[in-house]
């Protein structure tokens, strides 16, 4: 890697320039040469359901690990029953739980952290919905599938985009607020890679506002919330259908939850730091649901495709990887290399913008704060000059985070670098969020086939609420019609007979639950 310019020097040389012209640049081979998905770190899975499927090596490593279940503890576990078990308490999980309980089901919502701890609460940009007069479901659909028709399951995108206004309405009925414009309508902004403005939002706190509302509503509902209770294995019946899960309770014993339907909503994999990238994800994003579902035999797709959000904080170290919303670029902020030049259309799709930043850094036009932290400038002072007050008013979270760390984005540009942000693929589902395993729903970031290999801003929050509701409704209907199934770990026993009779854990196990740098050892 060629030498980058030092942070101090680059800051000294920075000048506020209007109308910086974007020089012509090439995008041929931009992705193939610079996007991390093309770093050749993939392997082919070897299980029957997914034979030959390309998967990131680090992910495959955890999929192949052993179950952490201790047979003796399993025999001594307490058993509780419910209609619907939801695992994961972010946007999709909370929505599924609220929907199921609204439909008359008994619901247990289990999380390894606390209610609301998720990537959702950190989301900033907003939710897409074709509500403006100059927009249409067709345009929303076209934007979503653009350049990636083969990586999309069309029925999922059709249903999600055409139901988006109703999804927004559901959130409003739950009590969620959105920014409004002078005409009394919902304000909208344009996501990178789309043809028109359709992202509705609440300042740059959309995720916080959403989770707050869902948490308050869960609090006053009949949903039984189990905090600090990670799911370490699913339960199955004789036919291999999902019939519940084993939770590791706070007192280190096992609780077996027998359920008519299990809704996995465990989020993403950011804390695996694929390709050694920093991440925007919360602490718990360790791909737990992928592992649990994989063991039961689900079909996966596109799990070699991950989104690197172009703008994470690159400095100081306590902010490394933290998200800076795309909304700032939607509003007009530009990206500058160490020569003070623009190098990409900032509202191209995220994969292109990230790859372009990586190219600048790789070719010596990056800015380096110290050995670990390098990046390019996000020209926030220019944005402030063009729209005075916009940063503090519309991006209060970004403003506060910067100022607390000694950077004033109104006066100085912010160092930014791509951050591991989203799992584009995942478990294959149908329009109700159901996987190929009966009784097992997988919704939210865990599922695949919706965003192809490059997600648009605002489609993830739409995904979690829409499919959360679908799964909650469908799981409720199943609960009314079907009896509780037998719950065993027979799906494990076939492959791991010897291992689970031992008292000690041998070899690596998964789900890992926490990143390794948290220094946690699971007692068994």
């Amino acid at each position: 890697m060629m030498t980058a310019k030092s942070y101090k020097q680059a800051l000294k040389e920075y000048t506020l320039v209007h109308d910086r012209v974007l020089q012509e640049y090439s995008i041929d081979s931009l992705l193939s040469d610079y996007h991390p998905d093309n770093y050749q770190n993939n392997v082919k899975l070897n299980d029957a359901e997914n034979k030959g499927l390309s998967c990131h090596k680090a992910l495959a490593d955890i999929l192949y690990c052993k179950s952490p279940v201790n047979f003796n503890k399993y025999e001594q576990s307490s058993v509780i029953t419910t209609d619907v078990l939801v695992i994961g308490a972010g946007g999709a999980g909370c929505t599924a739980a609220l929907t199921a309980v609204e439909n008359g089901s008994s619901v247990i919502l289990a999380t390894k952290l606390q209610l609301g701890d998720s990537n959702t609460v950190m989301a900033e940009g907003g939710i897409q919905a074709a509500i403006n007069e100059n927009d249409s479901f067709q345009k929303h659909y076209n934007d979503t599938i653009k350049n990636q028709q083969d990586a999309i399951q069309k029925i999922l995108v059709t249903k999600m985009t055409s139901s988006a206004p109703e999804t927004i309405n559901w959130l409003i009925q739950q009590g969620m607020q959105f920014d409004t414009d002078a005409d009394g309508g919902l304000s909208t902004k344009r996501a990178g890679g789309t043809q028109t403005s359709r992202v509705v939002f609440f300042k740059d706190y959309t995720g916080l506002e959403m989770i707050r509302v869902l948490k308050e509503n869960i609090r006053s509902s009949q949903i039984k919330v189990l905090n600090n209770s990670p799911a370490i294995e699913l339960l199955s019946d004789e036919s291999g259908n999902c019939s519940g899960a084993i939770l590791l309770s706070p007192d280190n014993t096992y609780t077996c939850v027998r359920a008519k339907s299990v809704i996995l909503a465990t989020g993403g994999i950011g804390r695996l730091h694929l390709n050694d990238f920093p991440t925007s994800n919360h602490f718990g994003a360790t791909g737990d649901g992928l592992v649990l579902a994989y063991r039961l035999g689900v079909k996966l797709r596109d799990i070699d495709s991950f989104q690197y959000h172009p703008t994470g904080f690159a400095y100081p170290s306590n902010l490394s990887g933290v998200l800076i919303t795309e909304g700032i670029r939607s509003a007009g902020a530009q990206l500058l290399n160490s020569e003070g030049k623009r190098f990409i259309d900032e509202l191209r799709p995220r994969n292109e913008v990230s790859a372009a930043i990586l190219r600048e850094c790789s070719e010596g036009r990056g800015i380096k704060a110290n050995d670990n932290h390098q990046g390019v400038w996000l020209d926030t002072p220019l944005l402030e000059k063009l729209k005075p007050g916009i940063i503090e008013n519309q991006f209060p979270k970004f403003f506060e985070l910067s100022v607390r760390s000694g950077i004033n984005p109104v006066l100085e540009p912010v160092l930014t670098y791509p951050t591991l942000h989203y799992q584009n693929g995942g478990v294959v589902i149908n329009e109700f969020g159901l996987s190929n395993i009966a009784g097992l729903y997988c919704v939210g970031e865990l599922s695949g086939g919706i965003h192809g290999r490059n997600r648009l801003m605002g489609n993830a929050l739409l995904d979690i609420i829409y499919f959360g509701r679908q799964a909650g409704t469908h799981a409720s209907q199943i609960a009314k019609k079907c009896p509780l199934k037998e719950a065993t770990i027979s799906h494990l026993k076939k492959s791991m007979a010897e291992d689970i009779t031992k008292d000690k854990l041998t070899g690596p196990h998964s789900p890992i639950l926490y990143p390794d740098y948290a220094n946690h050892v699971i007692e068994n």
Binding site: L113, V121, A129, G175, L186, S220, N318, N519, V521
Partner: protein, 200 residues
């Protein structure tokens, strides 16, 4: 690492050697300490990493979010477990169907009128929200103003924990936001879009 100097901090009664210039949580991990509870978003919006903190030079103990506190020599830190209270819960349907929102408020938050104006909630809030002023405004029925003041609340529950009258200002804030949301629940572009769709 940016900073090579090691410092000593006290966490939950244990002396720990760690790097300076990083957050409390990063410091614990860097020192090889196992820390998986009281950790969430790592950027100050989930309210999970509640701590009591005393800077060495100062007398005052502050309530903070650990992911946002940079460690300093001899800093004392205590992690505070979550509260899990079920009191003061309400549904949006109760608000929507209420014939007199003031009465509904008084029924759900009867302690609010006993506010001593001790300022404890203001001091406790790690986000600098004007909590006490919000309680006073809510009593007067100015829910929209409270809603604005509570824009940045992360439901860390510190204000609820410290209140001597057991008021739960955090939930007053959420109640007010939901009252406010009902005045915004008919945005023209969304309504027109839904009506058109239903006609088909």
């Amino acid at each position: 690492m940016t900073h090579n100097r090691k410092i000593q901090i006290d966490v939950d009664g244990n002396k720990i050697l760690c790097c300076e210039g990083v957050s409390i949580i990063q410091a614990l991990w860097g020192a090889g300490i196992s820390h998986v509870k009281s950790t969430g978003c790592m950027e100050g919006v989930c309210g999970s990493c509640r701590v009591l903190v005393r800077d060495n030079e100062l007398q005052q103990v502050k309530t903070e979010l650990a992911c946002r506190v940079i460690v300093k020599q001899n800093m004392q830190i205590y992690f505070v477990p979550p509260t899990y209270s079920k009191a003061h819960s309400f549904t949006i349907d109760e608000i929507r169907e209420s014939k007199n929102i003031q009465h509904t408020f008084r029924r759900i938050f009867p302690e609010s009128v006993d506010c001593r104006q001790c300022g404890g909630c203001d001091i406790a809030c790690p986000k600098g929200i004007e909590v006490e002023k919000s309680v006073q405004l809510a009593i007067k029925g100015k829910f929209n103003e409270v809603s604005e003041l509570f824009t940045e609340c992360v439901l860390c529950d510190f204000c609820e924990d410290v209140c001597p009258e057991l008021i739960a200002p955090n939930h007053i804030g959420m109640f007010s936001r939901q009252v406010h949301s009902l005045t915004l629940s008919q945005p023209v572009n969304l309504v027109r879009c839904l009506q058109t769709r239903n006609k088909i």
